[in-house]
């Protein structure tokens, strides 16, 4: 019983991170119908930004919480700027090109980010220093770490914030309108290019937050770390219903639980990819639009 509770907490922790990354896939897909395959590598860059930023802030002898907060913000802002730059230079020129061109470009951007990091910073893994208090509380055999709670709580706060932006603000309304029919939105006086740019910025900033939180639980980073995590977050987005914000959150937690419960149920954690892809296939067979995805309204 204690093991299950323990693993549930671990699942929530990992799921929070997957959810944060999955949001970026789903938001970009929602408005451009583009799978941004570079997103996992953008997450990796966010971790490297976190590595250097935390080093710089620690050298200034700030209190640890302040180092954490400034690292988080720095990574979110710089990653958002990077994503906007990628959108402008790589995707925008292909806005009216066949979709496959944009998808191939996204794969190319991802490879570029990996190899640029490899070439400039080398293959050696690095460790992000611990920035969150890591006290453990024992409750009847269950170990709750304050780190875990922080990761889960900060993630949930960010998701609630994002959900509010999408549901309540003018920008969010514009995003949802674009996802329904991009051609009419300019007639509402909405600068569509700016909304698309903002979508990349927000989606990547949230992934960056996921990266910084992830690095507190799993501190080792390397240039290829975005590949597997990116795939898992992508599966999460598809399982939840790509294009659907709440679906991405749900999918993230499902994948988090798959990852932590696989070794509990199956002989080894090496089965986790198998389980994840099996769930993906099963969901796509039963509900091709994902759990919360709606069938796209047919336009007359």
């Amino acid at each position: 019983m204690a093991v299950i509770l323990q693993q549930t907490l671990n699942g929530l922790q990992l799921g929070s991170v997957y959810a944060l990354i999955a949001l970026g896939y789903t938001m970009v897909y929602g408005i451009l119908r583009l799978i941004n395959f570079a997103h996992g590598d953008i997450f990796m860059i966010a971790c490297y930004i976190g590595f250097f930023a935390s080093g710089a802030f620690l050298a200034r002898h700030l209190p640890t919480w302040a180092v954490f907060a400034s690292t988080l913000l720095t990574s979110m802002v710089l990653t958002a700027l990077l994503a906007m730059l990628i959108e402008r230079s790589a995707y925008k020129p292909l806005r009216y090109a066949p979709r496959v061109s944009a998808v191939i470009t996204a794969l190319g951007v991802g490879l570029f980010l990996e190899h640029f990091t490899l070439a400039t910073l080398g293959p050696a893994p690095r460790a992000i220093p611990p920035l969150l208090p890591a006290a453990n509380y024992n409750m009847g055999g269950l170990t709750i770490s304050s780190l875990q709670l922080m990761i889960i709580v900060i993630s949930i706060i960010l998701m609630l914030l994002l959900d509010t932006v999408v549901q309540k603000t003018m920008t969010g309304m514009a995003m949802r309108a674009i996802s329904f029919d991009k051609t009419v939105v300019p007639l509402m006086g909405v600068p569509v290019d700016r909304i698309i740019s903002l979508t990349f910025a927000i989606g990547s900033a949230v992934a960056a937050a996921g990266g910084i939180l992830y690095s507190q639980a799993y501190p080792i980073i390397n240039p290829y770390m975005g590949v597997r995590i990116g795939w898992w977050a992508f599966i999460a987005a598809v399982v939840g219903g790509i294009g659907n914000i709440r679906g991405a959150m749900l999918g993230g937690y499902i994948l988090g639980f798959v990852e932590v419960f696989t070794p509990t149920i199956l002989p080894s954690s090496t089965y986790r990819d198998f389980v994840a892809f099996t769930i993906l296939l099963a969901v796509l067979i039963v509900r091709p639009t994902g759990i919360l995805g709606r069938v796209a309204a047919q336009k007359v």
Partner: protein, 238 residues
Amino acid sequence: MAEPLLSIRDLHVSYGNIKAVRGISLDVEEGQIVTLIGANGAGKSTTLRAISGLVRPSAGSVVFRGMELSKLAPHRVVEAGIAHVPEGRGIFANLTVYENLKLATYSRKDRDRIPADEERVFALFPRLKERLSQMAGTLSGGEQQMLAVARALMTRGRIMLLDEPSMGLSPILVQEIFKVIAEINEAGTTILLVEQNANMALKVAHHGYVLQTGEIVLAGAAEDLASDPRVREAYLGG
């Protein structure tokens, strides 16, 4: 004579090698309803899309209140004072009725006047007011057309471009939508109305243009056009 509010000169628009609009010129006087009639494929929607900046003309000019529009981004054209109700309504089915209206105020600087405009729209379309929190996709066809017009009103344009507002509506609803158009015009909004339903359009309009395969073949006061034998034969069923 005063400058027309909107003035199009020698406008050409192509899609690839299809010449959809071939050198049309037209004027819309402030305060009037001007209609552009013509068969399917004549280039009516393309003309409106060129005014709004949704397509780029290959030649010609679109001048609105002394300002050249043809180089502006579409959202700037809205800011300049042009409201466009697109063909097929273009409402956002996944947004609520209220969100549809709200989005149309995106670039407005006069935020303090928005509540009064909402009240005006609700007075004009009481049925929308009852359905504000409903998803726009659940509205009936007629209600969706009303919402499309209401949304255009919320952008607070000086001129409203309407692209076949009667399309797909029952005769009663067609009457109703034309009544609304007349009311909006009486309240001070200039209107450029594109219609295949030439009969109704010429009844409500002051002035009309007849478009045929991208060219204006006839122009004049609406009642003169309505009694012109060529118009009667081609568009009014003899």
